[in-house]
């Protein structure tokens, strides 16, 4: 019986290990309406870099999206994202939390 418990516990720990060791950071994808040129998009990068908890920003100018990676424990609300985008001169067209690629390193 003890052997079965130990084996089960070992198997579970093996399954959970990747989740602990490679905890994925929280990411949000912002659909930014009005985003048409790289020069304009720099304003969004600046606004997001001033925001607490933001660790990395990836702008896809052709898709009109901004992917925001938060530092560990950091979160962003849709209202917060909307204000940042409005302050940069654009409109938030969509906001969703996306599954980040598992990695033990920041991007």
């Amino acid at each position: 019986m003890n052997r079965i418990v130990r084996t089960t516990a070992f198997a579970l720990s093996l399954l959970l290990l990747p989740l602990v060791a490679f905890a994925a950071p929280t990411q949000y994808q912002l659909q930014v309406d009005g985003l048409a040129c790289p020069f304009c998009a720099y304003g969004i990068e600046k606004e997001l870099n001033r925001t607490d908890g933001v660790e990395n920003i990836r702008i896809d100018i052709n898709a009109g999206t901004v992917t925001v990676t938060m530092a560990e424990g950091g979160t962003m609300t849709e209202a917060q994202a909307s204000r940042i985008v409005e302050d940069a001169g654009f409109t938030l067209g969509g906001f969703e939390e996306v599954r980040a690629q598992a990695s033990n390193k920041p991007e």
Binding site: G34, C37, Y42, I59, N62
Partner: protein, 278 residues
């Protein structure tokens, strides 16, 4: 050691640009509907030259200027432009600080779409009589003039267009000369030939059509015959940007004119601007 006031002003304007935001592409020789967002500052260092000949006159002008804009809100900005002018007219030379311009712009409409933006703004400028109007040629007009207008436009990943109209009211200046009021109409098209990614150099080319009309000048209340009329310019413009750095330049070529009497006409005008965000 006495500080040069122009150097102090330039340093001051650069210093307030610490929170500079990015702005969209706009025309070079006509107003754009873009505004800076709240708390943002933008500084432009520019160079402008113009040459006019005809009617027995020959004038060439070079102007360096610094312009700063500040966003009171996301839709409302104020600004100042300080020029330094070198002028050569019929063998005489003069240079000095020109007429300082104060301006404000309010973007009253904006519609954002995926990858595109429509917008419209109203603007108002005041040109102050700060330039030397006592020498020959005159660097300043000696008059306080006001300019008002509307601009609208569309910007997408590939295409641009802008339309604007301005009216300039001139008042009596140095020597009792009151320049005629001026009207301006502008139509602009632009294209981004290559769609680049965010962190790549980006180029946009534009073609402006600029129509200008001036009323007759008055000298001590009497109209001057060889003044006023209209000119039409075709103006190619190139924008080059890389992240927070922008360089834009263009030339205005006169393609048609209907000037009154015998007077000098424009040969060309050229403008180059450096914009840096930091």
């Amino acid at each position: 050691m006495k500080a040069n006031p122009i150097a102090v002003l330039l340093v001051g304007l650069l210093a307030v640009a610490a929170a500079m935001p990015a702005r969209a592409h706009g025309p070079l020789f006509s107003p754009a509907p873009e505004t800076i967002f709240k708390g943002g500052t933008e500084v432009t260092l520019g160079f402008h030259t113009a040459k006019t000949t005809g009617g027995g006159d020959r004038e060439k002008e070079y102007e360096a200027f610094v312009e700063a804009e500040y966003g009171l809100t996301a839709d409302w900005e104020i600004g100042i432009e300080v020029p330094y002018t070198w002028k050569k007219s019929n063998g005489l030379d003069a240079n000095g600080v020109g007429d300082i311009v104060l301006d404000t712009k309010y973007q009253f409409w904006r519609r954002d779409l995926p990858g595109a933006q429509y917008k419209a703004a109203a603007f108002f400028k005041t040109k102050l009589p700060t330039g030397d109007d006592g020498g020959q040629p005159r660097i300043g007009s000696g008059s306080t003039d006001v300019i008002g207008g509307l601009a609208t436009g569309y910007e997408s990943r590939r295409w641009y267009w802008f339309v604007s109209g301005l009216y300039r009211v001139n008042t009596e200046g140095a020597g009792g000369l009151e320049k005629g009021d001026r009207q301006f109409l502008n139509v602009v098209g632009g294209v981004r030939p290559v769609l680049t990614e965010y962190e790549e150099p980006d180029t946009v080319v534009m073609l402006e059509l600029n129509w200008e009309r001036a009323g007759r000048d008055d000298l001590n209340g009497a109209g001057l015959a060889d003044t006023g009329g209209w000119e039409l310019f075709l103006s190619p413009v190139v924008w080059w940007t890389y992240r927070q750095v922008a360089i834009r330049g263009g030339v205005q070529f006169p393609i048609a004119e209907g000037l009154n009497g015998n007077q000098a006409t424009s040969d060309y005008r050229a403008r180059l601007e450096f914009i840096y965000h930091f």
